[in-house]
Amino acid sequence: MNDLMVIAPILLPLMTLILCLGLEMSGKRTGMVSLISVGVTLAVATGLVMRVASGGTLTMAVGGWQPPFGIVIVADLLAALMVWISAFVVLAVMVYGVKGRGHGHQSGHAQVLIQGLLLGVNGSFLTGDLFNLYVWFEVMLISSFVLMVREKGIKQLGGGLIYVILNLLASAMFLCGAGMLYGELGTLNFADMAVKLSAVDDPAFVNTTGSLLFVAFAAKAGLFPFFFWLPASYHRADPALSALFAGLLTKVGVYALLRTFSLVFTDANGFSSDIILYISMATMIVGVLGAVAQYNVRRLLAFHIISQIGYMVAGIAIGTPLALASVIFYTLHHIAVKTCLFLVGGVLEMRTGSPDIRTHGGFYKTDPWLAVGFLIPALSLGGIPPLSGFWAKLNLMQAGVDTKEWLFIGVGLGVGILTLFSMVKIWNESFWKDAPEGMERNSLWPGKPYAAIFGFCCLTLVFSFYGKFVFGLCEDAADALHDPRVYIESVMGGEDK
């Protein structure tokens, strides 16, 4: 049973995907099956987090081929936490309701593709092999690309095209980096690479391959200067789907950076990581300035993702245990908050028929609960105590103080104020001011948008008021990251099985 739990977050979406394909062929609805399956995945992920938190990292050698020869599935605490939050996000977005175009073959395979997305995301979190990570990235990319263009409008197609081209370019770089690594080290297993790379005394090689992988993951994460695809594509997809993308896709890039640059390409292995901090600061500034200039609600939020990704990667660059713990906490908090804001943005767009917040107004009066549902994540994102964003930023700043990165602290605080400013902008325009003449108010589409938004608000409040407990988990995960030997031993120690 031990092994089953490690691979269940991958197998469940895969089997549901196949089941949904079969159901669609016979013209049946797939929504309920898909929803139940994600619910089960969430339950399994909860169990996985609890087991890993108490009993340490779980691994499984696929096909019985022991590392470093076979592919290993590794569930350490970081991976388990990420799997948990992604199952939560997918579940909430399904409750929110993805617009379907009928059922059977007319459904546009929405449920199949969402399961494919969850499969790719969970696979990326759980794999212990660099090339396998590439494969999961592709699963994720294909699913999200098809989801993005399934409305078949020219706008969606344009956004999707930018998205797929830039991501394919990043994938090509990833593949080059992986190929070079394999050529030199003869292995792609993370743990084995970490061991073998420490014996390689060739800074040119380490920095070249490290930079190739960095650029590939940076493009997925939306770091400066590789973020162009993100604000060009996210706001064009269906609201529920764009919330799904906003919550999950870039964070997989952050996870890959966190994993690779804390384990394989470390300073101890001869990788010069100084530039990462500067790139992340540029990302923070450019992202938030883009957000301040926007009036399209979901586009504004999309720029915010970039700026917040900057904070996370800055934490990776600082690299102390406290910084890594706050990166993990920041990622969890940001996934909850940002998905929720996209869902609220989707409701605003649906109700008014326009994404431009200047044409909105008066939602505070007509939908007070929606206003609360916006206020909690928005204030949290802006870093107002006692919400989760405050704890995330506080700990990150503390890590900055410890390592005397004064420039980073200045940038981080300044960007925090601008973040709050742009949230206030949405609040003023959409909620606070009186409704302009002739603003439409459409009724909502089927689904339960408020239930999903409520769920995320609860999660944000849990992160805020049980912050100590959640941060404790993140600290344990970060300790394991900061000392690569823990990971290496738990993967390579399984040889005698």
Partner: protein, 141 residues
């Protein structure tokens, strides 16, 4: 362009190609071949009908839809991994039946990797047929 000649020929070509593809699929474990190449050859049996311009038959084996192959193929591939899990080992751990001898084929080894290959084979057929269907649809526009 419709070719009646090719339509008639398809009836005689499609089955041999299909049988050949199964042989390629089977020998693939130790020799060149396997699920992917077998699937490509098997799909070409279907594509003769498409090339003739008359489309695939309305009934019989060659009328099966791409999504049936895709679903069956993915399902088979996942099923082939489950015995390993049930035995408490890694997902996709190989299990083999004891080998035996058959005329023509020589010594026969059957096991879960072959089941996985069958899954790949069916998925590839489904994928190629879906591709062909989509391209043919564009042509009509």
């Amino acid at each position: 362009m419709k070719s009646h000649l090719l339509l008639v020929a398809s009836r005689f070509l499609s089955w041999p190609f299909f049988i050949l593809s199964i042989w390629i699929l089977y020998r693939g474990h130790n020799l060149p071949g396997g699920g992917f190449i077998g699937g490509l050859v098997g799909a070409s049996g279907f594509l003769f009908y498409d090339l003739s311009g008359y489309g695939r038959p309305k009934q019989g084996f060659f009328s099966l839809k791409p999504f049936s192959f895709l679903t069956a193929g993915l399902g088979t591939a996942v099923l082939s991994g489950l015995p390993g899990l049930l035995a408490g080992k890694g997902f996709m751990t190989a299990f083999w039946l004891p080998g035996f001898k058959l005329p023509l084929l020589g010594s026969v080894h059957l096991g879960t990797p072959l089941v996985f290959d069958i899954g790949v084979y069916l998925t590839v057929i489904g994928f190629i047929l879906l591709l062909a269907d989509t391209l043919a649809e564009e042509e009509k526009l």
